[in-house]
Every structure is written in structure tokens, then in C-alpha cells.
Amino acid sequence: VKTMGKELPRYWRSLEELAQSEGFRAFVEDEFPNRTPDWNNPASRRRFLTLMGASIALAGAPGCTVQPKEMIVPYVRQPEDYVPGNPLFYATSWVERGIATGLLVESHLGRPTKIEGNPSHPASLGATDAAMQASVLTLYDPDRSQAVTRNGNISSWGGFITALTAARDAAGLKQGEGFRLLTGTVTSPTLADQIQGFLAAYPGAKWHQYESCGRHSARAGAIAAFGRPFNTIYRFERARVIVSLDADFLCSTMPGSLRYSRDYSARRRGAAENGDAQPPRLYIAEGTPSLAGAMAEHRFRMRTSEVAAFAAAFLDEVKAPGSGPATVRAVARDLQAHPGDSIVIPGEHQPAAVHVIAQAINQRLGNAGKTVILTDPVEAKPVDEIASLTELVTDIRQGAVEALLILGGNPVYDAPADLNFLEALKGVKFRAHLGLYSNETAEWCHWHIPEAHYLEAWSDARAYDGTASIVQPLIAPIYGGKTRHDVMNVLGNQADRSSHDTVRDYWQSQHAKPDFNDFWQVSLHDGLITGTAFSETTPPAAKLPASPVPAASGLEIVFRPDPAIGDGALSNNAWLQEMPKPQNKMTWDNAVWISPKSAAVHGVTTGDVVEIAFQSRKVEGPVWILPGHADESLTVHFGYGRTRAGKVANEIGFNAYALRSSTGVWHGAEVTITRKSGGYPFAVTEHTQTMEERDPFRIATFAEYHQNPEFANPEDKHVSDATTMFPQWEYAKHKWGMAIDLTACVGCQACTIACQSENNIPVVGKIEVAKGRHMNWLRVDRYYNGSLDDPQTYFQPVPCMHCENALCELVCPVAATVHSAEGLNEMVYNRCVGTRYCSNNCPYKVRRFNFFLYADWDTQSLFGVRNPDVSVRSRGVMEKCSYCVQRINSAKIEAEKQERPLADGEIVTACQQVCPAEAIVFGDLNDPNSRVAKLKRQRRDYSLLEELNTRPRTTYLARLRNPNPDLEKG
């Protein structure tokens, strides 16, 4: 904030960088900062020589160690067609907040190790997001609950069956009255069938649904507009102009956002690569910077509570052109020039009124039925979930609830604070909880049943478009977990019936034909039931909303699921905790986001701990000044401040749910903040691994690109091949290379976690991250361009560049990093002695060093998650991106065995496979027809720091944007 007034550099990374304090310079200039305090031994010269002598004498000793005795344990009866050593892939589905995404999961010797997207599933098309990637770690989490407990003591499933049956029968005397079920959003046809069956037998019983970060607004919006619930899906592949009303539709918690990212980026890529397709143009009105906001050509920064008024003005402008302010007029003109191929998309976290307005505008523009499709709701029974939970609490208070069965979820932690759910819960006589963890809710329940992880369970669920997707287990429950179907079977007096039979029988009832067996096998193989996507329905004309209530003035508070760990269900996942959050590269914490201007007004700065007071509730949390945030607005994220999440997540961050109210679940006004103390230590990754101000990011508009195609490769950066003293390498067979399209990349960080999962990358913890020792091989840099208050945000994934003139190779004293015949920059762990010279010499700062034994060599259950094709590194070893050489080798071996050449696209790196935007392409540069070779022939292809003549194999395709000339500022 101090630098206001000074001229800004073109691209900047953080406010600290702009301020350039002395401490900051010291931190940035040190390769791995904060090292010295670790060596607090007052070393004398003599002691040093003694140690050195001993080290040299012993250096050879490890070379002749005897291999430890190892056992081979074969099968007793080997499954047919099973080849030990070769992985198998099974289709299953990830279900989050009730919505399914299809996956293909890799299994080695019966243990799931890696998640991939299911290419034939409409919600995935082969992509996954960071949470799905990380979900395999949760399977092996030693903190998961491992036993049925009663009042905190270990009990048995049989004991629970008796107790639950007794509770049901007691309620059964009154037609089930007093018996309540609480679930998350249910889309599972099988589970819904079981619950409806139970409710039919016990009509007095009631079923409540509550999801803390569910689709409350979208549901309410559809009812307000059309009188009944509808499900809205969008066709971004057809959208030329997109107006987002605070909707983060790119890799967010919005159902279908993975598919939307794919479609949206495909269109952008198409326009940039071929030049003929029309690029999409994205306008967004938002307060909290989001991934969609970073992609937008025009971002209208406003408080979250002002978006409704903006939307209303926009509708007025569409109805009667010429009435609104200039920006609204310009956007509306652009939209009206593209009737039928534009989208107005309302935010999941905006009130129902905004959804109604969006529906109305889309109908008016003729988008309905073309780019905006309405179908029946995917929920088995769509209800207002906040009202449903409120009703439950009210009924408990009135003594109407005798037994409560909670199937998944954690309402004690994530229910709106004003409901006082915990106090109410204590008044129920019989309380049982099924969950992956013995969490805050389990603590207050008489019974807790460990739930089977989705990789251990049979189930089903619907995708964002209604496609019925099968959840298929890859492993028997590690901790004896039960599914929701198992518990419902107990209620249905069928305790012996397995979840597999339950799911299969349901689908047999839906497909009662002689070929059911074939149908079922095909469905399991594909991971979905073909043809179950909902067809389009035509709703009546949208009712127009009453004029929205004008936003209250003063400070507002905005509630959001955390960008990394979501609503809190994944809190105990260390990969996600250590994933730098896209917007501020912070790990292991949540923070109170505030704009630079408001921070000055309220007298707070980054690291200050403030007390937030909202509707007589108070919570303390540290402040983070975020450029681009709306003024007079705070954003807080859920998922932190857990008390019974597990060893990873307990007692970190603050609990934003403790402020949330059931009347305005996504934002509220009249908030005050009071500074309590300062100096809160965040662990951020944005200041380490910097390439300084050397023009790493290049961007132009489509028009500028057509005018000057060489914009990304300015003359002064060129270095002739003759500059080097070293002989050029020859690559006779393959020449691996990678192209990363910055036009497509949305900055979601899924690649970071995919890389972590594929390459056995350890987590290091908050203290080590603060010292710049995080281990991720693939980082996503974020750059700002423009003013402090409202900058453009750009993302750039940075793996190893695999330079042809690699600076790291020159300085390694033990040849632990060398050049391969195919141009890979190899890292040989068993040779590395840890001098760190290579990292010091790397201009891209992509090398990571194991300062300690970061890999967990003790926790048995975590061994299961490791990829057996990649070494687990030990202490004192450098590591970095290998272009997934295990995948290269395995594809090469298969091709050699079949005596055929490798096909383009056969080798897919983990980051490429996961990418929802298809921004990363890997392949053979010796094949002129390979996709990567073609991309690199594009004129917007450029190398990072090419003036150093490192000749990187990883290059970037400069970002192109498509601004509205009417709005482009001088």
C-alpha cells in the first residue's frame, strides 16, 4: 500500500514485492530462505575437519550394503486375467454435495493409487479437479474413524443394528413419528428409493437434507422464476458472449464446472490456434476474485451484495436499451448482437433474485434451449435445505424428535450458527451418525458408524446433467466402513443385504429385461448408465422478480467454500492443505480477505488478527490484503477451525461457519472488524521461486496478435544458436517437449495435485512451507497486471523446462542431473549428494530439495497411496519434474513389444491428463505432425527467459484475450 503513487512494474506478484522492504529482498534473494537457524551448533574448524574426514571415510560404506531380506507373497488363487505388475483401471464416480463426476481409478495389486477422469463421462471428459485428485489420500488417512462407537466406546455393527432397530420400532408405534433422517443432498436413485420405501412404511418419519455449500440459491431461483425446481446447465462450447453475475463456473464447487471449463477453454483454444473460430468474450461482475474473474476480459469489481442491483440494471437495459449506465449499455449491446449464442450465468452464491433475472435475460435473448438448457432437477427430492434444517431444529426444540439418524455430513460444525444446532441436537434421545471421520457431530452422537470411502463403496448418483453414475469400489473397506445403503437396509429389516445387491437390484428394477446382466456389466465398465442424462424441458416464461433490495451500505461479509479444501469435508487432506490457493498462494490457513483500500480505511494490514463481529457473533481471524477484492467487503472461507477433523486439520485457521446466519447464507451486511494483534505468520509460496521481473508472462488481444503475430517473441530476446560454447545435442529418436497454452489455463491447480499424486511428492507442513521448502514439482505462478485495486490476474503453470542447455547439469559435481538421449533433464536420486548447486543455478526455480525426511516412512496406511513406479525420495536429495518419465517408459515398452512406432498422444503426463482446460500438451518434437510440434510452430509460442539461451523444451503459448473495444480503457 505504501507504493501507491510510484510507477508499477508491468507484472507484479504481491504487495510485498511492490513495497520491496529489506527483509523481503533478503527472503527472495535466498534460494531457500531461513536456513541458518537450523544449524545452531557452534562448529569449530577442528570439529568440521573431523566430521569431513569421517564423512569421506564412510562415504563408500553404504555402497556395499547387503540388500535387506524381502519376501514375495503370491496369491493363493490368482484372479483370472490379472497380470501382477500391470495396473488395472476401474470406472467409478466421485460424489460431492450429491453431484457425481465420473472417474477412472488406477489400481496396483488391489490398491487404488491414482485418480483420473472418465473420458466417457459427460461431467468429466477425462478431466478432474484438485479435490478429486486428492481424494485417494483420504482413503488411506489413518485419522479416519475405524470402529463403531457408542458413547465414545468401541462397540459393534451388530450392537448398532439392535439399537437402531429398537429406535425405529419405538417410533413405529406412532407410524414413525419422532424418527428423523438427516442427509446431504441426495441424487442417488438407489438411496432415494430406499428412503422413500422407508418413509412409505413409516409415514410419520421425516427426511431432512442439508448441505452447507449446496445449491440453495439456484433451487430457490428456479422456483421463484418458474414455480417449480429446474436444473440449469450451460453449453459453453456454443457461447460467444458470456456474462457472469458473480458465477465462478471454472473448476469451482459449481456442479458441471469441470465440463464448463473444458468447453469454455476449447473455444478459446480453437480461436487462438486456428484464428477462424470466434473467441468467447467473458464479462464478470464480482466482489471476491475468482478463477472466472481472472479469465474475464472485463471484470466489474463491486461488492457481492451489489451484484443483484447490477443484474437488475442489466435486465432493464435488455428490456429497454439505452437506459442504463455506459458499461451496462456496452455489455448489453454485445449480448444483443449475439442472441442465441450468449450466456448470462448467475452465481451459486448470489440470492435467488439474481437467478430469476438471469433466466429472464436468457429467455429474452433466445439463449434458453440453445446455450442455457433447463432439465428436471437432479436431486431426488429438491427441498430448500436451509428451511429443512431449520424445521428439524425447531421440531427438536418442540420435543417432536426422538431419534435422529445423520447419514454423512457434519451439521454440528457447518450448520448456520444462529440455529444453534448443537444445543438442539443434545435434546434428541437417540442420535446416530455415519461418517468418514469421528467429527464434531459424531462427538455428540450416541452412535458413530465409520463410513466407507467412495473407493470402498457401492452406490450411485447423478451428474450435473442427470446422468446416473455408478460408484464402484476398488478395495474392501479398510476400516470396516458401512455405506448409507447399509444403514438404510437396517431400517428396512434387510441388514444382511449388501450395498452391491441394493444398487444392482434397484437398477434391475429399472431395466427388467432379459439382457440385464449385459446391461449391468456395460454400465459398470462405463461407470454410467447410458442415456440417463435428463432431456431438455421447456419451462414457462420466467416471472420477473420484484426489484431487488438495494445493498446495505457499510462493510459486508461474504462466505465462500475454501478454494482448496471446500466446505470442510476434505479438511484433513494434507495435499489440499498444502496446495497454494490460486488467488494468494497461501497454504494451511484461511484468512479474512480485504481490498487494499479498505484495509487502509480500517487500519489493518496483512497478518493482523481482527475480530469480526456479525449479528452478535464474533470470530477472530488474520487479515489478507487481496488486490482486486471489492472495497468495503470481507471474504471469509469455510473449512477451517476444525476441532475433530484429524491430526492434519485440527486447530488451524478459524471457523467461518460460526458467523454464518440462516437468513443470508452467502453474504451479510453490517459487519465490524476490530484489530486485535499483528504479525500472524502465513505460509505462502508466492515469494519463493521467483524469476524476478524478466517478462515471464506475455499477453495480447486477438486483434493485436493478428496485427503483430511476433508480439510474444520480441527481437531483443533472441539469442542465436551460435552463442553457446557447448555442442548442440542431437536427438535421433524422440525429442520430448511440452506446450502450455496460457490462453486456455484457468489456474485451478489440479495439475499440481495430479503431479503430487503421480510422483509421490511429500507434504512438508506449514512451518517448512514458510521457509520456502514446499515440494510441489509443478507450481502455478500468479501475476498481477495493473492497479493495486483492480488488477488483471494471470496464471502460469511452471514445471521443469527440460532445457537443452540446462544450467543445472553443468554445475552438479556428481553428475546426478544429466541429459538423456531424448532431451529429458534427468534427476538421479541415488547419485545426488545434496549440494543444491543445481537449484541455485536454475533460473526457473523449479527444483525442490528434501531438507528432511519429508516422505512418511512410518505410517503404514499411507504406503498404499504411493505410485509403485516412482521412487520415494529420502532426505538430502534434490527432485523435480521428470515429464512423468515412468509413463514415457511404460508407453515406449508397450510400443516396442508390439513392434510399432509410438503414436502421438499415447504418452500423457499426469498434469496433461488432469487439465480441465486441456492447456498442457506433451509429445515428440521430432514428429512434425504431433500436436505439440504443431502448437510450438504457432507464432505466439515463447520460451521463459529465452535471453539466457537455455533452450527450454517446455514453452508457452502467449495468452490472447478478446476485449470489447467499447470498454477497453486507453
Binding site: Q67, N86, E826, Q886
Partner: protein, 217 residues
């Protein structure tokens, strides 16, 4: 003043200097010997197994092919150790009461796997793939020796990197026709290896792969 050292000191000095040199050399030699010897390498040391399985009997006497038990050797990195069921295929019919085979029957009864001590064990940072070697004409006996003559299994090569690289640098010295890969008694026929080696290398498109990432990753 008398001489500090008398004449005999010369001999003492010479002898002790030589002794120091010899001792130094001896230590280095001992270290090499230790590294190359069976104590460290395990070469020619038969491991104790729960069942004293004889390859000699099963291969030489009974004529069972390698792939009857090591089923995945042509398709996977791992050659495969037979499931108990494979053993019982024959041993439910013959030698049904042999005391030696009790662990096999017990495994089949209880469903608990037999445990075999690994004879050929590479360090964990080495990734070896059986299938590609077998497909490219490297015979079992090239690395594993005359297993068909081993009553108890032992390894005949150190499996040191130096040993691997010998062949990776000049595969033509070791390659054999594909139809001879599983013949443990194969020896290079006349015309000798110098003639067929380069021909097979060309025919099978064998590459001399010595990049680190070929085996380490």
C-alpha cells in the same frame, strides 16, 4: 652425544613403511573383495525357503516351461510367482502326502499366502521390466543362470549396475533368437555370437539404452 637411532632403526623404518603401504592396500583390497564377494552380493548363496523348491527337478526332470509358473514374464515388469493354486494343480494329484509340501497344502486350506524369500532383489530405486527383455531376445539364463540345474535357487550374477550396463552397452554380445529365450540350456551355436548378435540386434530393433531414466526414476 650418542646417536639417537642406531643402525637397526633403518630396517625398522623400511619394514614399517612397507607394512603401512601393504596394510593400506590390503584394506582397499578387502573392501573390494567384500563388495564383490558373496557375503554382500549374495551370489551363489541359496536362500532358505519355507518349501525347498527345486527348479532342477521341475525343469530338468519334469520338463516344465518357465512360463507355466512365471506367467507374466512376457507381459509385465514382474515375472510373477505362481499362486498356491498353480502348485496344487499337480500336487493335489501327486506327492499328496509329502511332508515337505505341507506348507503348500496349508496355504491352500487356509487361504494364507506362501511367503518366498526374494533371491533376485534390486534396490528400490531400480525399475527393471522383464517383458521388454524377454521380447527383445534376452534369455532367462543370461541373467538367472542355469536355474534348471539348481536344486535350491540362488543367483549367479551380482545384479550390480556395472553388470547391467555391460549388456546395455553391447547387447549384441548377449542377445539370442526369440525362440531360444526360454531354453535354459541355450549356448551360442556356431556361427558364433559375433555373427548372430549384430544381426539379431538389427532384426529386433534393440537399442542400447544407457540413459539414467531407463532404470532410475
Amino acid at each position: 652425544m650418542a646417536q639417537l637411532f642406531d643402525r637397526s632403526s633403518n630396517s625398522v623404518a623400511k619394514i614399517s613403511l612397507t607394512a603401512i603401504l601393504l596394510a593400506g592396500g590390503g584394506i582397499i583390497w578387502a573392501a573390494y573383495a567384500l563388495n564383490a564377494g558373496s557375503f554382500t552380493t549374495g551370489v551363489e548363496v541359496a536362500r532358505d525357503q519355507s518349501v525347498p523348491f527345486s527348479h532342477k527337478h521341475h525343469v530338468s526332470d519334469d520338463g516344465i516351461d518357465c512360463r507355466y509358473c512365471h506367467v507374466s514374464v512376457e507381459t509385465s515388469a514382474f515375472a510373477g510367482i505362481p499362486a498356491t493354486e498353480t502348485c496344487m494343480g499337480c500336487h493335489s494329484q501327486i506327492w499328496t502326502n509329502a511332508a515337505m509340501l505341507e506348507p503348500v497344502r496349508e496355504s491352500f486350506r487356509t487361504g494364507k499366502s506362501l511367503e518366498w524369500v526374494r533371491v533376485h532383489d534390486l534396490p528400490d530405486f531400480v525399475y527393471f521390466n522383464h517383458s521388454i527383455h524377454v521380447n527383445k531376445g534376452i534369455g532367462c539364463s543370461t541373467c538367472h543362470g542355469r536355474v534348471d540345474q539348481m536344486p535350491l535357487t540362488y543367483k549367479v550374477n551380482t545384479l550390480y549396475m556395472q553388470w547391467c550396463v555391460n549388456c546395455h552397452r553391447s547387447p549384441e554380445k548377449y542377445v539370442r533368437p526369440r525362440d531360444q529365450v526360454f531354453n535354459p540350456a541355450y549356448t551360442t551355436p556356431a556361427p558364433n555370437q559375433d555373427e548372430i548378435g549384430p544381426r539379431l540386434v538389427a532384426e529386433y530393433k534393440i537399442q542400447s539404452l544407457t540413459d539414467c531414466v531407463t532404470c532410475h526414476r
